[in-house]
């Protein structure tokens, strides 16, 4: 799925990485538990989360995840944006809940990991 299409579906706002919106992603994983995210050994994944702190970005960095979608209009700090830019990531924010976001993207064809 193209990132631009994902942004459209969740009525999202791109925080950084606009230049990558033509990129595609195959899998989605929704979690607020970073240790769980670190168990996933799959490329081409979007992390969908309500957890907003620098460890979210660090976790994505270690797990080679380039795309993060934050739910419920969570506040993304300047420090998080700086870290994300250093790692060439795309950060998107939506006002929808984790449940609604996951449901919409699943319906639209984003694949689950398990």
């Amino acid at each position: 799925m193209e990132l631009a299409h994902i942004v459209e579906i969740v009525n999202g706002r791109v925080i950084c990485g606009e230049e990558k919106l033509r990129r595609t992603v195959t899998y989605g994983f929704s979690s607020d538990l970073m240790s769980d995210v670190l168990t996933i050994n799959i490329e081409d994944l979007m992390l969908i989360t309500g957890l907003t702190n620098p460890q979210t970005i660090r976790t994505a960095e270690m797990a080679d995840i380039e795309f993060i979608l934050f739910v419920r209009n969570k506040k993304i700090t300047p420090e998080m944006i700086k870290l994300a830019k250093e790692n060439d990531m795309v950060l998107i924010v939506t006002g929808y809940s984790l449940f609604r976001t996951s449901g919409l993207l699943y319906n639209a064809g984003l694949k689950p990991v398990y």
Partner: protein
């Protein structure tokens, strides 16, 4: 090549800085991405453990042509029962640690899963030392 990092207990804004540096160095050395991933996931979980549980720690990285040896030595509460701590779901983490997305009792199992060799020594009231070895190509 040797790399050393100081880790401050309780400082979550910096947690992962050492792992991030190591990842950059491994990339520059041309280590395959799937192997880098295993190394940095193990290292990052161990680094977060120092921040979550200890007062301070030192991470020493020894890079050889065929492997990396990592030692994480901390001053902290130590681990009373290592086999129990290795069980998935066992955790003594604080609410603050849980709020950071960790502390679900998955850290040590994650380290074990991603390390080619893992050895943990601990003295209650003194601290814990974690040794991780990973090979760049499967031996």
């Amino acid at each position: 090549m040797k790399l050393n990092f100081q880790v401050e207990g309780g400082n979550f804004t910096k947690a992962g800085a050492a792992s991030s540096e190591v990842k950059k160095v491994l990339k520059q050395l041309g280590v395959p991405p799937m192997i880098i991933r295993r190394i940095v996931v193990a290292l990052y979980e161990a680094e977060v453990n120092i921040v979550a549980h200890a007062r301070q720690g030192i991470i020493s990285i020894d890079l050889y042509p065929d492997k990396v040896e990592i030692e994480l030595r901390d001053k902290g509460p130590g681990i009373k029962d290592i086999p129990q701590a290795m069980q998935e779901g066992f955790s003594t983490a604080s609410e603050e640690v849980r709020a950071m997305g960790f502390g679900a009792g998955m850290g040590l199992p994650n380290i074990k899963k991603n390390a080619d060799k893992l050895h943990i020594e601990s003295l209650v009231g003194e601290g814990t030392t974690v040794h991780i070895t990973n090979y760049f190509a499967k031996p």
